[in-house]
Structure formats: C-alpha cells, structure tokens
C-alpha cells in the first residue's frame, strides 16, 4: 500500500497531478489501490484452500495418477486448449472483421446473430451436436440408409477434433465480441494510412487492424482458454480426458481431495503461464487512438465474395446456434406437458435475479480494479489484478469447494464464539445466503467482467485525464464524466458476458445456493445427471431465451 512512494516518474503526469490535487483525492486513490489487493486476497482464499491441500499427502492416488493417466491427460489438455484458442481466434476475428468492415447480404443480422451462441451452454451444444452427428444420430443414420453403406469416411465426432469444434463454436463469441468492438472503434484512419502507404486492404488488415486490435483479441482468447481449461461438462459428454476430468476422478471416484488439489494446482500453474504469455502480447504498447474518425462507409462486397462471406457467417450461425436451438425446441415440445409446471417461473426468476445481481457486483468491482490499476500501474497492483481474475480458469467445482470450506470454517468459528460468549445457538449464519453466492460468482467470473473493461480502458490516454483535470475534474467526477462515457461499451459487454455466464454456471450455483433457490441451470444439471437430455431441453430453452435478452441489448448498444 505504501507502494505509491516507491513509484518513480514513469508516469509523471498523472501521478503528480493527482497527489498534489488535494488530500481528499489522495485518500480516494489510496482506497482504490486497495481494491485489487482486497479482491486478490478474496480470490486467493479458495485458491489457497485448494493449494494447501497439496501439503496433505495424497498417498497412492497421486502416485497412481502419475504412473497411469497424468501424461495423457496433460497432453490432451494442451492440445485441446491450443486447438480451441487458435480456432476461436480465427473464427472470432475473421467474423468480427467481416461484419465490422464489409457489407454483404445479411450483415445486419449476422453482426448480432453471431453473438447468440453465447446463450447456449457448451455442454448443451456438445450433447446436441453429438446426438445429431454421432454414429447413431440422424445425420449418419440417414446417410447410411441412403447410401446403403457404412460411412467409413465420416469423421469420428467423438474425438479430439470434435471437442475442439464444439468448444470453438461455443466460445468464439468472446473473441468475436471483443475483436469487433476493437475494429469498430479503432477508426478507419489507420487503414487509410496503410492504404496511402501502398498496402491493399488485406495487407492493411494484417499489418494494421489486427495488431492494433491485439489486446482485445488477446483478452478474448484468454477468456476462451480459461473457460476451456475449466470445462467439465463438454469434455465429459465426449469422454475426453483432461486435467479437469482427472480432478473429478481423483476427488469423487477415488475420494482423494488432496490428489484433486494437486491436479488443480497444476492447472493454476498452467493458467499463470498463459497469463505471462498474454502479457507478452501487450508489452509496452499503448493503443490509444487520439480521435475517432467518423465512421467510414462499409466496403460493399459484390459477386461471389459477398456470398462466400455470407455463407461462412451463415454456417457458423447455423452450427453454433440454429441447429442446437431447433433440436432443443423439438425436444422441449416433447417434454413440455410432462416437465413444465409453475416451478419454472421460480427457476427463471432465480436465474435472472442471480445473474443480474452478480453482473452488477462483478462489473462494479472490475471497474474499480481497472481504474485502480490505471492509477497505480506498479507491480503490486498488476499482480493483484492478475490473481483476482484467475478464478475463471479453475473448474467450477474446485472453486466451489475452495469457497465453501473457508466459509463453513468461518461459520463454525462464529457459532463457537456465539456459544462461548452468549450461549446462543446460531447455526450457520453466512453459508446458504445470497451474499456468499454472489461472492462466489465474483471469484469465479471476475475475469469475464474485467477483461472487456480493461481493454476499453487502454483507449483512454493520459492526455484525456490531463485535459479533464485542467477542467477541474478529478477522482469520482472524472470517472463519472470522462471515463464512464468512454468505457460504456466495454462495461456493457462485461455486464452481458457475466450475466450470461452466471446464468449457465452450475457447480458454484449448486453448492452455494440457499434452500429452494433452484435455477434453470440447476434444473438442467438434475436432468443431465440422470442422462435425461431430452428432459433437460425445456430448462435449456428457457435458459437460452433468458440469455438472449442481454445479448439483444448488447448488440443494440454495439450498433449505435
């Protein structure tokens, strides 16, 4: 906290400007500084709880894992994470570029439609895709009956490639959304400058637009990678063994929480490595555009070019959204009469209110963190921010337990104190409250809220701050009047992503929900845990539809 004093003049302007303003501002800033550290500590508690179990001997289980499955699982995880990251980047960036710069048939629809897959949980997409394209699915079955032959050429859907494709279709919107945001706001000026220097549009894209959008793309890919590493549902549907499935196995099948924790620690190490890589991508570049040039007209594609692009976007939308949602709808109509009851209003309401509250909390905290990191770009804050956003990469169930154990401990301690001091039977006070649930969501999803806001903040130059200070704005008034309007897009993106993610979330919801607080995701869990995927279609459809609301708002905002 006293780091302020150590900081040299690498950013003379802001720091001096602020510290001399008034003691009030100084105090506010000091409190800002605490926020990332505080949140990091909060996140470190569950992570620490998990890592601490590393110290308890896992005995034969760990040894067994090392001898039998660990290497395969690590390789699987590596290839999966790499494959999904690369494919999501390619798909997300190319679609973002096409819809941001070119005009082609259906562009208006695609520009928001391509976000829709966000609303479908990856495990649902996995099951539906597998159901449709696997050996017993309608596609292969009809092909076999038409051709009257075995389809040896048909790719094996239950394979590494299959998981990568499904996860890519499910996660690319993170990259799409952030990259598109970058392309839309980075201004056409730079592209024109490149053209005036003799580069054609493709070269301009590769040498100017793409590098300038790099922080956005990097943070999108980072979200995708973290989500991939943490995923259990999708890989379980494909029976593809990753580090996460190994954690489940060690814990739930071999009753070895310590072996599970050791695997989880390994996962944390991988995430830190990823973070270091992402940092390399950002290095010392600053991406502020001094001025947004007026929106240049879209480049109109004609002839076969336009149809290739439209076809590409359609195919993505079809496989990532239309096909699965249609299948879900068909299943839901089968099960509607049996499955639907008045409880659903409650599920829906719980899903919405939890997602809404969590989104507000997480994005507020993320905003404060980003702001604080901007004011104090020193090591302590940077590391704190990094730690605070690591929860997203941990399998939900590991994090859920990591959160639950310290809370139960705290609860028991309270209870003991109350008994000793006042002889009152308090029971468990904290656990099973919404507060715990929201904090758990925050620990889990802070990265989702943080990344878009952080990327947007890169836009605001220190000159803007100085200009605002010159006009007598500082502290909160500067945040409110200068930064918030500029950050609006990033904040809106963050709120939407968090909202949808919380709505889809299972393990944390299951473990921390108060009695009776079942959500749509809980309903899906119940159905799928018994293998009744068709029964799960109704809550899944409800969940997708509810998730579409913020996405629709987001796209409207993005188009403005």
């Amino acid at each position: 906290m006293r780091g302020t004093l150590n900081v040299k003049s690498e950013n003379r302007n802001t720091r001096d400007g602020f510290s001399h303003s008034s003691s009030y501002v100084f105090r506010v800033i000091l409190s800002w500084r605490f926020i990332p550290v505080l949140v990091a500590v909060l996140v470190l508690v569950p992570v620490g709880t998990v890592i601490l179990s590393f110290l308890t001997p896992a005995g034969g289980v760990w040894q067994h894992l090392v001898e039998t499955i660990l290497l395969r699982v690590l390789l699987n995880t590596f290839w999966l994470a790499l494959g999904v990251a690369v494919c999501s980047a390619l798909l997300g960036v190319s679609l973002a570029w096409f819809t941001a710069v070119y005009d082609f048939p259906g562009r208006n629809i695609f520009s928001w439609g391509l976000l829709l897959p966000l609303a479908i949980p990856a495990y649902v997409l996995a099951f539906v895709t597998l159901g449709l394209f696997d050996f017993t699915g309608p596609v292969q079955t009809s092909l076999r009956s038409w051709l009257g032959a075995e389809l040896f050429w048909f790719p094996n859907v239950r394979s590494r490639m299959g998981v990568i494709v499904v996860m890519t279709l499910s996660f690319y919107p993170y990259v799409y959304l952030l990259a598109r945001n970058a392309f839309l706001t980075q201004g056409k000026r730079s592209l024109e400058a490149a053209q005036s220097l003799g580069l054609n549009r493709t070269q301009g894209f590769l040498k100017v637009a793409l590098p300038m959008a790099r922080p956005w793309i990097a943070s999108g890919v980072m979200l995708v990678s973290m989500e991939t590493l943490a995923d259990f549902g999708t890989v379980a549907v494909f029976n593809y063994d990753t580090l996460t499935t190994a954690i489940y196995k060690a814990w739930f099948s071999m009753f070895s929480l310590s072996a599970a924790s050791q695997l989880a620690s390994l996962l944390i190490v991988i995430v830190f490595a990823l973070i270091v890589i992402e940092q390399q991508f950002r290095s010392r570049m600053r991406y502020a555009e001094t001025k947004q040039s007026s929106r240049a007209p879209l480049i109109i594609l004609t002839g076969w070019h336009s149809w290739v692009v439209a076809g590409f976007a359609s195919a993505t939308l079809f496989f990532a959204f239309l096909l699965p949602i249609t299948q879900l709808f068909i299943w839901a109509t089968h099960t509607f009469a049996e499955e639907f009851n008045q409880l659903y209003l409650g599920f829906l309401w719980h899903s919405l209110i939890l997602s809404g509250l969590a989104a507000l909390l997480i994005c507020s905290v993320a905003l404060l963190m980003v702001y604080s990191a901007r004011r104090h770009p020193d090591m302590v804050t940077r590391i704190a921010v990094r730690i605070a956003t690591i929860g997203y990469a941990l399998p939900g169930v590991v994090l859920a337990v990591g959160i639950f154990i310290p809370i139960a401990w705290l609860d028991n301690w309270f209870s003991k104190m109350a008994m000793q001091l006042f002889s009152i039977e308090t029971g468990l006070l904290i656990q099973g409250t919404l507060v715990v649930m929201l904090i758990a969501y925050m620990i889990r999803f802070l990265a989702v809220g943080h990344n878009p806001i952080d990327s947007a903040m890169q836009r605001i130059t220190f000159n803007i701050d100085e200009a605002a200070m010159g006009l007598g704005l500082n502290g909160w008034s500067m945040l409110k009047r200068v930064h918030l309007p500029i950050l609006k897009g990033g904040i809106f993106t963050a709120v939407t992503l968090v909202f949808v993610d919380v709505m889809k979330e299972m393990p944390v919801t299951l473990m921390t929900r108060p009695f009776g607080w079942d959500t749509l995701a809980v309903r899906i869990f119940e159905m799928t845990s018994e293998g009744e995927w068709e029964q799960a279609a109704l809550p899944a459809v409800a969940l997708v539809l509810a998730g579409l609301i913020p996405i629709a708002l987001l796209t409207r905002q993005a188009e403005k």
């Binding site: 034969g60 289980v61 894992l65 039998t68 499955i69 696997d134 050996f135 017993t136 079955t141 239950r158 379980a236 549907v237 494909f238 029976n239 499935t245 196995k249 814990w251 739930f252 099948s253 071999m254 009753f255 070895s256 929480l257 209003l345 409650g346 309401w349 209110i353 169930v397 337990v401 639950f404 154990i405 139960a408 401990w409 609860d411 028991n412 209870s415 029971g427 468990l428 006070l429 904290i430 656990q431 099973g432 409250t433 919404l434 507060v435 393990p507 299951l510 473990m511 929900r513 108060p514 009695f515 009776g516 079942d518 809980v522 119940e526 159905m527 845990s529 018994e530 293998g531 009744e532």
Partner: protein, 337 residues
C-alpha cells in the same frame, strides 16, 4: 402475479443479505442433502409430509460435493440426512464419520442384509441392477453368460461400454475385485477394453443406441436406462440379459441414505428413513424410475417385471465403497477410459 413474486423475493433477498434468511430452524422439519434428483425423490418426501406433518427441505448436488459440504460444515451442518445414488459415496461418508448408526427394527425388516451397511450407518432404498443389453438381431441369448465372458475374444470389436469414470462401472469392478481378486479382475477389464468397438461412451443410453444401430452388439447398463429407452422407442432391437445366473448373480448397486452424525432432527430423520423403506414409499421408488424396490414385499413396475426375475449378487454392497479406489486404479491401469 409477477408483483407478488417480486415483493416476496425482495423480502427474501433482503433477509438473506441481512445474513439471516436461510437458516431459521422450524420444529418438525428434516433437511436432506440429496444426490438423487428432485424428480426421483420429491414424491416420496411429499408422501412423508402428508403422512406425518413433518416437512422436508432438501438440496440436490453431486454426491461428492455433498460429502465435502457435510464435512466442512461439521457440527453445524443443517443436514439431517444424506441420500446418494450409489453405495460408494455412502461408504465414504460413513468412513469420514459423517453418518450415525441407526438401530431400527423396521429398517432391518424392510431391507435385505446385503443392501445395507453392516455397521448400520446407511441403508439401501432402491436397487439398481447393472446388466447386459444386446442387439437381438446379432446376438442370441445363448451366446451370453457372464460379465467376465464379455472379456472373451469372441466379443472382439463387439462390445460398447460406458466410461469408467461413472460410479456404476466402478462399483461393478469393485464388486468383481471383492469376488475374484485383483489379478483376475484386471484380466477381465483388459479383456473388455480389447473387445471395445468404440471409445467408452459418456452414458448408458448412448451405449444402447450404438448397440441398436449395430456399431456394437452388446453392452453393460443399468436396467432402468433400458426401460426408459424402450419406453421411448419400443421398436429398438434390444433385449436384457441377466448375467451370472449360474454363478453369484447380477451385480446390484443401491440408491440409499443415512442419517447424519450432527443431525438436528435425528428423530424425524429416522422416521423419514423408515418411511422410505416402507411399502408406500417403496412403491413410489418402483414407479418413479423403473428401479427395483429394496423391500422384497414390493413388486417392481409391471414393465420391469416383464424383463423377468433374476438372482441378485448377495455380496454386501459395502464392498463397492471399500474397493472403489482400487477399482478406479485397476481400470486406469487396464486403459479403460
């Protein structure tokens, strides 16, 4: 309508935020942590409440998570009862000292010995038989005999199996270890793996669908999955075979329950447990999921009866828990994913 909902939940939120909402304790109430999902357990709870006036509050989650939760909450846990869908997790809960031994003549009368804990800490409530399902066009019942026979090379490329990560298969192998020893069991599992027509599947239904589609000829599933699938598509060329009838019998697992060590309403919890083993509740178990009741006085669902009767393996299901870790290690070694 919406407004009523809204204000009600607003009150709920505020009371929760004030850190009090969730843990009021009412007089006659049992709190259950259930790995059995709402649809398969709520009818029994409702019947219990109707009979006794005691209300039942419950949360559902993975058994492993519920165990961890019980352990972390310790003395102050709100839970009076734990329900799982396998013996392994109950055994683990008992080993961790989370369950209380219950002396009850009713339970002992209603539940056969091999389906409850010898130390009386947990009791089976329904039976889940893990059996063989085959493609009627490609396999004659006479070709089938035992689980271990599926390791025979005549089944090369004809077997489909669910993943070894599912507890049902872990229990099956654990019981095999208890019966045949590690060496022979490992040989059997290796034989299965060698005979696989395709990578292990993520669920029983998928495995049966592949059998029906002709990708493979035979698989091992829980009988109620077969029931559910056939209810949906009666024309599938699938049939059940009860293995090991000349030997020790079909492998069975249980869905069961135990009363927690730190239960606040121990008395009511025991009443609930006894109720769940009673004829009334056992009938519900039979109806709700095509499982077999534990209580021998109750007949299964007519559709289930039609599959014929079979000899159950009388080995106590406690072995499924004791040897589960061993079973997982064995399957890992054998390359059974």
């Amino acid at each position: 309508m919406l407004r009523i909902y809204f204000s009600r939940y607003l009150v709920a939120i505020f009371s929760c935020v004030a850190l009090f909402g969730a843990n009021f304790s009412y007089a006659e109430e049992v709190v259950v942590y259930s790995a059995r999902i709402e649809k398969l357990i709520k009818p029994m709870f409702d019947a219990f409440t109707k009979d006794t006036g005691i209300s039942v509050k419950f949360v559902t989650d993975n058994a492993g998570v519920l165990l961890t939760r019980l352990k972390a909450e310790g003395k102050n846990t709100p839970a009076d009862m734990l329900i799982t869908t396998d013996a392994g997790n109950l055994w683990e809960a008992a080993r961790e000292g989370l369950l209380e031994p219950i002396e009850s003549k009713t339970l002992e009368a209603n539940i056969p010995t091999h389906l409850r804990d010898p130390k009386k800490q947990w009791f089976g409530l329904s039976v889940r038989a893990r059996t063989i399902v085959y493609n009627t066009r490609k396999v004659k019942p006479a070709e089938l005999s035992t689980y271990e026979d599926l390791a025979n090379s005549k089944w090369r490329g004809r077997l489909c199996l669910r993943t070894s990560k599912k507890v049902y298969n872990q229990s099956l192998v654990a019981m095999m270890i208890s019966e045949y020893g590690k060496t022979r069991s490992e040989k059997i599992v290796r034989g299965w793996v060698a005979n696989l027509a395709t990578d292990p599947l993520s669920d029983d239904t998928k495995a049966m669908e592949l059998v029906a589609a002709g990708k493979c000829d035979v698989t091992i599933v829980n009988s109620y999955y077969y029931g559910r699938l056939l209810k949906k598509s009666p024309s599938l060329p699938l049939a059940i075979f009860w293995p090991n009838q000349a030997e020790s019998g079909v492998h069975v697992n249980i869905s069961g329950a135990g009363v927690t060590k730190n239960a606040k309403s121990k008395h009511a919890a025991v009443r609930l447990l006894e109720f769940l083993s009673s004829e009334k509740a056992q009938n519900l178990f039979a109806d709700v999921n095509m499982e077999y009741p534990v209580n021998p006085k109750i007949k299964p669902d007519p559709a289930v009866m039609a599959w014929g009767s079979f000899k159950q393996n009388q080995l106590n299901v406690v072995a499924a828990g004791e040897l589960q870790t061993e079973a997982v290690k064995l399957m890992d070694r054998a390359g059974y994913r």
